[in-house]
C-alpha cells in the first residue's frame, strides 16, 4: 500500500495476528453460526484447502496485500485483484470476458443490473459465517435481494463530499457552486468517472434523479460542469491520486470519499476538512458479487469468509478511511481507542448509507458521456 495509516507496528501485528486466528477458525469451520441448506456446498468447500486462484475485479481499497497472503495461507485460495476504474468499467469487463473473473466488486444499484443481465448469481449470505459480524442493515438492502438470495457481500459505503484545505479555501464550502469560483481555478481534483460527475452536476442544478436525468436536466448539468471546468486541475483514476494531490498542495479541494482527511494527514499532507454541499451528495455502498460464469463459485464463500474477518476490516478502515459494514470491526476499533475517528466517519451509523443518492447505471449513458466529453474536451 502506498498510503500508511497512523497504525503502529504493534497494532498492525496485533491486527494481523487476530486476522490469522480468525482465518484459522474460519478454515476449520468451527464458527458457531447456523448454516442454511444452501450453505452446504460452501461448508464442504470451506474445509477444502485445494489451491486455487480467484480473479477479482475490484478497487484498491478492498484489500491489503498481507490480507490476501494470509487468506492464501489459511485456505489455499489465492486472489489476483485487477483494478476497475469505475462501475461501468467493471461491468463491461465482466460482460466481455465471461467467466474470466470469479468475483467483481460493485456499487449499490449496479448490482441489480449485473444480475438482470445474467452476469452474477445470488447467494445465501447467511451461509458465509463471517456475515454474522455485519450490521443487520447491510444484510437487508432491498435492491440487493433477488433470485431468492443476496447479490452482494457488503463491504463499505461513503458519500462523495468536498474535501478542502482551510488554509486556502475560505469560507468553508456550503454548495457545489464553490467549484465555479474563479479563485479556485486549477485547484480541484476528482476521479475520472463521467457518469458520477454528471450526477453530481445534476444534484448541483436540482435534478430529481441524478442518474436518470431528462435531456433538459442533462443540459443544465453540462452547463454547470462547463462553468466548473476551470476549477479542475485533473481528473484522476484512483482515489489515492486525489490524496496525493491534496497532500502535496497541488490541489486545494477534492471530491472524494469519507476519510480523505485522515488519508491526507497520513500521507504527510496538511489538515483538510470535509464539507457537505446543501444540494446533496452522491454516495455508494459497495461489496463483492459472485460471477455467474465463474468456475470457482464453490470457493466464493470460503474466500470471503477469510477476507472479511473483523481484524482485517478494522485494519482496512485505519488505512483507507470510509465506513465499513462490519460491526465487529467497529467494536474492535472502539476497544483500540479509535472510537472518535470511527464515529466521525459515521462507522456507527450504517443506516445513513441508504439515505444517500446512490450510484447506479445511468438510464441514458450515451447522453451523459457525450455531455461530459463536450465539457472536458479541448
Amino acid at each position: 500500500m502506498s498510503i500508511n495509516g497512523p497504525v503502529t507496528r504493534r497494532q498492525a501485528m496485533r491486527a494481523g495476528a487476530l486476522g490469522v486466528t480468525g482465518l484459522y477458525v474460519a478454515a476449520c469451520g468451527s464458527s458457531g453460526t447456523t448454516q442454511s441448506t444452501a450453505s452446504k456446498t460452501s461448508s464442504a468447500a470451506s474445509s477444502s484447502k485445494a489451491p486455487v486462484t480467484l480473479n477479482w475485479e475490484t478497487w484498491n481499497d478492498h484489500y491489503l496485500p498481507a490480507q490476501i497472503a494470509a487468506v492464501k495461507q489459511a485456505t489455499g485460495i489465492a486472489a489476483r485483484p485487477s483494478l476497475e476504474s469505475d462501475d461501468s468499467d467493471g461491468y463491461l469487463k465482466v460482460k466481455q470476458t465471461g467467466g474470466q473473473y470469479d468475483i467483481v466488486s460493485t456499487d449499490a444499484l449496479w448490482a441489480p443490473k449485473y444480475f438482470h443481465d445474467g452476469l452474477t448469481e445470488p447467494f445465501d449470505i447467511a451461509s458465509i459465517p463471517v456475515s454474522s459480524q455485519l450490521y443487520s442493515v447491510a444484510k437487508e438492502v432491498p435492491f440487493w435481494k433477488a433470485g431468492g438470495g443476496y447479490l452482494v457481500y457488503p463491504n463499505g459505503w461513503s458519500s462523495v463530499n468536498i474535501y478542502y484545505n482551510p488554509k486556502y479555501v475560505s469560507p468553508a464550502p456550503t454548495s457545489w457552486e464553490v467549484l465555479t469560483e474563479a479563485k479556485y481555478a486549477g485547484k480541484v481534483v476528482a476521479e475520472n468517472q463521467p457518469t458520477d460527475l454528471m450526477a453530481m452536476a445534476g444534484l448541483a442544478t436540482g435534478a430529481k434523479e441524478p442518474y436518470g436525468m431528462t435531456t433538459a436536466e442533462i443540459s443544465r448539468a453540462q452547463d454547470f460542469l462547463k462553468s466548473a471546468k476551470p476549477a479542475f486541475l485533473k481528473l484522476v483514476s484512483q482515489n489515492s491520486d486525489s490524496v496525493r494531490a491534496l497532500a502535496d498542495g497541488s490541489a486545494w479541494m477534492a471530491l472524494e470519499n469519507l476519510g480523505t482527511d485522515f488519508r491526507v494527514k497520513a500521507a504527510g499532507g496538511p489538515v483538510v476538512k470535509e464539507a457537505t454541499p446543501k444540494e446533496g451528495v452522491v454516495g455508494w455502498i459497495d461489496g463483492e458479487q459472485m460471477v455467474k460464469a465463474s468456475s470457482h463459485k464453490d470457493r466464493f464463500h470460503q474466500f470471503l469468509n477469510g477476507m472479511e474477518q473483523a481484524p482485517w476490516v478494522a485494519k482496512n478502515f485505519l488505512v483507507n478511511g470510509r465506513p465499513l459494514f462490519n460491526e465487529k470491526a467497529y467494536k474492535m476499533l472502539v476497544n483500540q481507542g479509535y472510537k472518535e475517528r470511527a464515529d466521525l466517519l459515521w462507522y456507527n451509523q450504517p443506516e445513513k448509507a441508504l439515505q444517500l443518492t446512490l450510484k447506479g447505471p445511468s438510464g441514458n449513458v450515451q447522453a451523459y458521456i457525450d455531455a461530459f466529453n463536450q465539457v472536458f474536451g479541448a
Binding site: L92, P194, K229, S250, V365, F376, A378
Partner: protein
C-alpha cells in the same frame, strides 16, 4: 519434377504436369505463418470489428446491429471533437519537430565526431530509459515538475522564485515536454542510423567547390538522410497521435488529447462512437503514411 519426353517437346498429346502437393507448395511460406497469425488474428480481425462497430449503435450498454452513420455524423457535428482532434494534431506536430531538433545534434555528433569505440556505450545510454516501464517514466515527471517537485525546489533554492510555479505540470507544455522525452530515443537512433552511413567527404567536396557549410548541409546531407528523417517523423508523430496515458498523468484537464475522449467512450460502453473516432484517426494515419511513402525513396533525390 521430371516430365514425360512428349511433354518436354511440346507434343499436342502432352500430359499436364502434376502439381506438387499443397503442403510442398506452401512450404516456402511457412516462415510467414507467425506473422500472418499475429497480424491477421490480432490486428486485421479486430480492425474489421472496429469498422463494423463504428456503423452500429449502443442501447443500454448493449451493441445493437442497427446500421447507421450517426457515430461519424456526431463526431463532425460536435465542435469539441473536431477542436480536440486539431489540438492533438498540433501537439503531435510540435512534439515531432522539437524531438527531431533535439535528436539531430546528438545523432550528428555521434556519427561524425565520436570514435567508433565510444559510440556503442553512448548509444546504450540513449536507450537506457527503455529499461524502465513507460508508466514509471511518465509518473517520474510529476516528481520533477510538481508543486513540491525537484524543479520548483531548485528554483526556490537559487532564489529565482518564492512561490512554486503551478503551470509546470498539468497543462499542455508538460504533455509536450514528457512526450519529447519519451520519443527522443526513437528519433535519435533512427537519425543516427541514417547519418552513420553518410559519406562525410561529400560535405568537404561541396565546400571545396564553394558551398558554404549551411548550403552543404541542406543540399547534400539532408536530401541523403531524408528517409531517416521520414522514419523518425513516423516513429514520433504517429504514436503521439494516439497518446492517452501521458496527457492523463501530466496533462490535467488542460492537456486533454483525443485519446482521452475515446477512453471515456469505451469506459461508458459507448463502443460504437469510440470505434468511429478511432477509425477516423487510423484513416488519417494511413493517408499520412501514403504521403510519407514517397519520401522514403532515396533514388528520387538525385532524379535517377
Amino acid at each position: 519434377m521430371a516430365l514425360a519426353p512428349e511433354a518436354a517437346v511440346g507434343s499436342p498429346h502432352a500430359v499436364t504436369p502434376r502439381r506438387a502437393p499443397l503442403a510442398r507448395r506452401l512450404a516456402p511460406y511457412a516462415g510467414f505463418s507467425p506473422a500472418v497469425l499475429l497480424f491477421g488474428g490480432f490486428f486485421l480481425a479486430p480492425l474489421v470489428l472496429i469498422v463494423l462497430y463504428s456503423f452500429w449503435e449502443v442501447i443500454n450498454y448493449n451493441v445493437v446491429h442497427h446500421w447507421t452513420l450517426d457515430n461519424y455524423h456526431y463526431f463532425f457535428s460536435t465542435p469539441t471533437y473536431v477542436t480536440t482532434l486539431l489540438d492533438t494534431l498540433w501537439v503531435a506536430a510540435l512534439t515531432t519537430l522539437l524531438t527531431l531538433l533535439a535528436a539531430f545534434p546528438l545523432a550528428y555528433w555521434l556519427a561524425r565526431y565520436v570514435r567508433p569505440s565510444v559510440r556503442r556505450p553512448l548509444l546504450v545510454l540513449v536507450i537506457v530509459p527503455f529499461w524502465t516501464s513507460y508508466l514509471l517514466r511518465v509518473t517520474s515527471w510529476t516528481t520533477i515538475l510538481g508543486q513540491k517537485g525537484v524543479l520548483n525546489r531548485f528554483l526556490e533554492l537559487i532564489g529565482v522564485i518564492h512561490q512554486p510555479l503551478s503551470f509546470l505540470l498539468y497543462d499542455r507544455p508538460a504533455v509536450i515536454l514528457v512526450l519529447i522525452y519519451l520519443y527522443f530515443p526513437f528519433a535519435a537512433l533512427t537519425l543516427y542510423a541514417s547519418l552513420e552511413r553518410f559519406d562525410w567527404m561529400q560535405i568537404r567536396a561541396a565546400m571545396d567547390l564553394g558551398a558554404p557549410p549551411r548550403l552543404a548541409i541542406t543540399r547534400v546531407l539532408l536530401p541523403q538522410i531524408r528517409p531517416g528523417i521520414t522514419v523518425a517523423v513516423i516513429f514520433v508523430f504517429i504514436p503521439v497521435l494516439g497518446e492517452y496515458l501521458t496527457p492523463q498523468l501530466v496533462g490535467g484537464t488542460r492537456g486533454v488529447m483525443i485519446g482521452n475522449l475515446i477512453v471515456n467512450f469505451f469506459q461508458g460502453a459507448e463502443y460504437t462512437r469510440g470505434a468511429a473516432i478511432s477509425l477516423l484517426i487510423a484513416a488519417f494515419i494511413v493517408v499520412l503514411l501514403v504521403v510519407f511513402r514517397k519520401q522514403l525513396d532515396v533514388a528520387e533525390t538525385y532524379g535517377r
